[in-house]
Symmetry: C2
Subunit: 446 residues, 2 copies
């Protein structure tokens, strides 16, 4: 597993040891980045891009080159959406303060957002990031269950705080997970006995629960991103989470749905990823697309869980739930509705997937294609034995960038193209991408 | 200690059980807040304020009432400062994306910010909040020292993530600190043998280091906010941290300066609180005032510490270091400089402190007055025996609000008025406050 993880990390990045191959203007820029950010600096691509502007599904670099964005899911309703920009700018000029005063904006936003959740999930705590949301969710769950053990999938990523990094095997590099973390397979039907992902997943979860209980750590929660983004995108059949979630709740554990990736309509089926599976989580965490780039996240849960947590400790987050965050969040909900972006994700996503299936027939290096709405994973493989080919994925990603397409990779082996454009992505945009991918695959035979 | 903490928490808050005493419009608002945010909802004041607008050092409620703000240090260069609003609004419309692309704005901001730090502190990692910054600082320090033990002051607050909540005794309520956390007295000269705060603090630190080492936990770091904000504001004599920090570094531990409170010029003496003490931290954390309300924080450290951390794990923060955060941060640095706000903090702070000293002579319930620049603590005491009087502080805070003044409390016993206005606070504003405090103390005799 450790070797796999390294490959994922290496594949899509700029390698500082290759600086001599950079164009002079990029070289100077990279040197400045390195001087200020040191070893923490991570840049995309063999030749990093200096980005200067973005609008809708497109980004523009310092040379005026245009890129179709199939990577960045934060600007979910489109880069610099005018309605969101205007709402945030207006509110910044009026009032930007914390939640210890009453403010109509924050009350209205909370009501609007909570209206999109099933009944028992009636309370919201705002945070600034998805990492803070998952960190808080763990605290709530550990307090409720009086246990520490958490079950996560093999290449899961849930954020960057100390507590959340522990439950993110994708970021552990040379370390094994801590004792309170049980790592199980993603619900990949190819790994499953008789190809039944639901059953295989439920059995993995049950075994992990037993192990946590018998080791004395105790079982606290199962946390998953219901589209299994960093595991390589496993979306179907919708409903496959049901029997595992049932088992979790029967074992007095909590099911935490990390909606940072599938949430806010990306799957095209529903506002929230968990809804596709017909399950009701105990805790839901929100992040990236929530403010279209304004830093905000949140935890949604049942009132009794929030109450139980607050009896032990308080929670205050200075910037979270400001009138400006509320303005950003409300504008995002409005655009999603007015522009019919969930339906667009379904329609354009289906069109795109069909186009990718056609390419699969022509290129033996294209393996499995999975996903729903505007979140599709496409495996790149060695046709000889169908084994994952992350190096080939890396070459394709860099070549697509030269052809004006921004895209990333995911998955346990890092060989899955992660197709995840803003939700305003159109059929015409899909055609641009399909043509570019076709051309790139034709030129870069394995 | 537990009882003390409860008092701090209770003093300044709206008590939900007193809802029947609310005005009808406030009652409806509070009910909506409670319905959405549940037990996590915390509001200021016996009659919470519906805030609608703010500018400079003033905030305005839904009834058009004006409040002079001596509480909110986030809008540090003034509420809705036009230059910051404009910079953020402009950038939102152009590009709001992550740090994996190059962007002139983020390179320039990092250079500008790092220029304000002494030489070895040459690398920056951006986060979205001060909590994330402290969480990351702990991870960096624990990786470097291969030890877990952290020393904090008795009423310290360093944030809200799982890891950082553990080192925030102010938030623990009914719990004792974990085994890896050593809690020591704030550098209060009144607690010190011979009144020498420096020596007393150094001795407490040394004892804690010995205990951590002998218990097998190991010594990792001393973390302090160098103005000891939540401990009750201990600023003088400048330099008192030196011998303790020396001891920490001799013991192979790290000194982490949490600049969320004293940073960005508030002390009037320097850009950073640690500079007043003539010490060089190993790690500095930044938060609240950094973007004047735009959610941003950061960690500044020596390149080798960042490198050591990044060898074990990566750190990526989706929203942090966006071109919009850079625009906000740059605008704040520009305003600080162009409006001479650090010098203003020194001048107006000294004027204000002198005025408060005059009140102390007239009101025996005014005890010790401490602080520097625009961060002053004023103890409210029982004149009979000079004991802390948090209930009186609570009455004064609520009464000042009725007189158009926003102010909070701090300190181990919650009896310290925390005087911490935006840095654009003028002598005229100081006069308004002094007059209101005079009147309030005259009307509310103990």
């Amino acid at each position: 597993m450790l070797q796999e993880q390294k490959e994922i990390l290496a594949m899509n990045r700029f390698d500082p040891e290759q600086s001599s191959a950079l164009a002079p203007d990029v070289y100077r820029h990279v040197a400045r980045r390195k001087a200020s950010f040191g070893a923490s600096s991570v840049l995309f691509y063999a030749q990093p891009i200096e980005m200067v502007r973005a609008r809708g599904a497109y980004m523009f670099d310092a040379h005026g080159r245009r890129y179709l964005d199939l990577y960045n899911n934060v600007a979910s309703v489109g880069h610099s959406h005018p309605l969101v920009v205007e709402a945030v700018s207006r509110q910044l000029d009026i009032l930007n303060t914390h939640t210890r005063y009453l403010n109509e904006g924050i009350e209205a936003y909370a009501e609007e957002l909570l209206n999109t959740f099933p009944d028992p999930l009636a309370n919201l705590i705002m945070t600034c990031t998805g990492s803070e949301a998952n960190d808080l969710a763990l605290r709530i769950a550990q307090r409720k269950t009086n246990a520490k053990g958490v079950i996560v999938t093999r290449a899961a990523y849930h954020g960057n705080t100390a507590a959340v990094a522990e439950i993110s095997p994708a970021g552990l590099r040379n370390r094994l997970p801590a004792d309170h973390v049980k790592v199980i397979d993603a619900p990949d039907s190819r790994l499953a006995i008789h190809g039944d992902a639901a059953l295989h997943f439920e059995q993995s979860v049950s075994t992990a629960i037993r192990e946590l209980n018998s080791s004395g750590v105790g079982f606290c929660a199962l946390i998953v991103d219901s589209i299994f983004s960093s595991d390589g995108i496993f979306s179907d059949p919708a409903g496959f989470l049901q029997i595992a979630v049932q088992k979790v709740q029967q074992a007095n554990g909590l099911f935490i749905a990390d909606e940072v990736q599938p949430g806010f309509g990306r799957t095209g089926d529903a506002m929230w990823g968990f809804m596709r599976h017909g399950v009701i989580p105990d805790i839901v965490t929100l992040g990236k697309p929530m403010g279209n780039g304004f830093p905000m996240g949140g935890v949604v849960s049942r009132p009794e869980l929030i109450q139980n947590f607050c009896e032990e400790t308080g929670y205050f987050n200075t910037f979270a739930g400001s009138p400006v965050a509320a303005a950003a969040g409300s504008a995002v909900l409005k655009v999603l509705k007015e522009e019919g972006l969930i339906a667009n994700a379904a329609t354009v996503g289906a069109y795109l997937k069909k186009g990718l299936m056609t390419l699969k027939q022509r290129y033996p290096s294209v393996g499995d294609i999975r996903g729903t709405g505007l979140f599709i994973g496409l495996d790149l493989i060695d046709p000889k034995n169908a084994s994952p080919d992350p190096n080939f994925a890396g070459r394709i990603i860099n070549a697509l960038k030269e052809n004006g397409i921004l895209i990333g990779a995911a998955g346990r082996f890092g060989h899955t193209l992660k197709i995840r454009p803003p939700l305003c992505f159109s059929k015409e945009d899909a055609d641009v991408f399909l043509e570019a991918l076709d051309m790139t695959l034709a030129l870069h035979l394995r």
